[in-house]
Amino acid sequence: MTTLTDPPKEQFRLSMLLYDTRYRSATIQVIAMIGFMLLAAWIISNTIQNLEALGKPVEFGFFAEPASYDINQRLLEYDSRDSHLRAAFIGLLNTLVVAVLGCITATIVGVLVGVLRLSNNWLVARIMTVYVEMFRNVPVLLWIVLAMAILIESLPAPRAFRGENPEATMNLFDSVAVTNRGIYVPEFLFSRSLGDIHIFGTSSLRFDISLDLIAILIVLGGSIFAMRKVSAWAQAKQEASGDRPTIWHIQLGILFVPMIVLLTILGFHLGFPELKGFNFTGGTHLRNSLIALWLALSLYTAAFIAEIVRAGILAISKGQTEAASALGLRPGRTMRLVILPQALRVIIPPMISNYLNLTKNSSLAIAVGYMDITGTLGGITMNQTGRELECVLLLMLVYLSISLSISAVMNWYNNRVKLVER
């Protein structure tokens, strides 16, 4: 007969933290963590102490002071009496503009180049190789400066448009002026505008939302919703009767008629640029600095995206292409309907990094005098107030937030397109 006895209850002793393998790794991690936190605390207190000894305690009150400088490209109203915070906000919007424009252009160019690099046409494939190697092997700063230099030196100054026989003339029925100060394009105007909604009153972060824009978006959204419904109806009918009704004219009508009606109600017209005094006035002014930065950043990043796209496509087995052609799909449709959707799984994660890179590279804007957040908050504000630490910390926080937001959106998209497994 056997007796069962409980194993002796092990008492916890302090030395076990070190000698017992069950606890040891945790002990080491806790100690390392404490050490790291102490180090961080020491660095921070040291910095603050030193700054105080220098007579520069860390404080953010200067943000409420008037900035006293002007910013050329401002998406919201701003003048030199507004606060430093407002100036930083205007700069932030400029950063976002160039980042969004850059990401879109880089994606389009990158995907095109990536696909063309795999083309069976020898010449096209080689040209794309040259493009990729040229752009990704030269620092982006040089591309930015080069783009700016070309714009400034090769295009005519506004005064070349003047006189009886001007050296330069406007393009596209006198609606677009290309000068070495930027490109002036017609702007959208509404003679019976609905006005704006003012958000945040008179604070530094105030901004206006155009009711016209909201109305247009609502109508557009409604049209697209209706088009989908029609499409679904056609699909249902096809499945029931095997006969697909012709709907393209209905679709076009749904898309355009409400929009045209709305624009007529709002009194839509174009404002054309014209030469007045020193510069063109009217129209929208796309400044040199924006164009140079946008072009250089997107062409540079597109080279990387092209390689990612190529890698993604090559990752899809050849059998998929063969199967698609066996089913009678033409090469273009094979790419669009079979290969690319699968390749996206491979493409999206590295693509996120490139979007982040482009956004962060936009901080090189000051090289061409583009007033992004690095130029306002991290440039003039920092220089005029002498608050380096505060400005740089805030700048880091801003870029971190932008980058994390991009990551979050792209990760969500990545989760949507990834292969659903059971």
């Binding site: 020491w42 660095i43 040291n46 910095t47 102490q49 030193n50 700054l51 000894a53 220098l54 007579g55 520069k56 006293s68 400088y69 002007d70 910013i71 050329n72 003048d79 030199s80 009496r81 230099a149 400034i152 030196e153 100054a157 506004p158 005064r159 070495n180 100060r181 007045k276 005094g277 020193f278 510069n279 006035t281 040199n288 600095s289 000051i366 090289a367 005098g369 007033m371 130029g375 440039g379 003039i380 920092m382 220089n383 005029q384 107030t385 002498g386 380096e388 630490l389 740089v392």
Partner: protein, 338 residues
Amino acid sequence: MKKSVILGAATIAGLAAGAAVAGTVDDVKARGKLNCGVTTGLVGFAAPDANGEWQGFDVSLCRAVAAAVLGDASAVEFVPTTGKTRFTALASGEIDMLARNTTWTFSRDVDLKFEFTGVNYYDGQGFMVPKALGVSSAKELDGATVCIQTGTTTELNLADFFRSNNISYEPVPIETNAEAQQQYLAGACDVYTTDASGLAATRATFENPGDHILLPEIISKEPLGPLVRHGDHEWGDVVRWTLNALVSAEELGVTSANIDELAAGTDNPEINRLLGTEGTLGEMLGLDADWAAKAIKAGGNYGEVFAKNIGEETPIGLARGLNAQWTEGGLLYSPPFR
């Protein structure tokens, strides 16, 4: 606090380091070299010549200080700084003094914790336009595109000027004088604005200087002077009195030509005290007795430095104007050497 410097400097890009540095005079002597911050290149004020030697009005001041402290006018390491990097360079201790057309303002003196050690050039902000533009006054510049160096007081003056005259403009911010020149000459901006002396210096380098005019309006007071870090008074005194020595030398008629003769002793006690043959002024500063004589020998007195680098005989062609001695109706007025 000394031992904490290394980490502080490493983490916050050298921001915190300045606090612990004291005794710049000793540092400079121990190093055997003066680190002097200058512009990235503005002919007449500070620019390397064909042989790569830095030359100019501000450069001469650096050399005079080096001569006074180290006895060698060539013992200077010139550190080019932009309008944006200059203050960080000085605050972090990368440079010992800044001689870079820097305007003496309240906030730079008090809030940024620097010490201006005098004024070596009384300036004001002006505008340069191509003659072909047909503009004769800055008030006609409504709607013009204006090139401006970013991170300078001129940026703020410009905003104030156009605002108070209720006219609009389009600022084009630019990092360095060279870029401004490129944009201005290509017609990407109608107007270039900076200190009038800087405009004259820039215009002198143009192919056809005659095609460009300076508008009559001077819209600000820009007393330009050398500066050092707040708190190190001995060093501040050295720089201040070196500048004063150059100014006094001109007033007293001491030039690089006659200084050896005068240094043997004269009947004028003030000259004797300046040149160190009488009194212990050098010792009070912690320098050799003939510190001022060495400083003056480095490039001559204030008038000689002015004439050689930016005076009317040079391509830059600036008149003395406000920068004449007080005895000749200018503002230069050195406290006595006593």
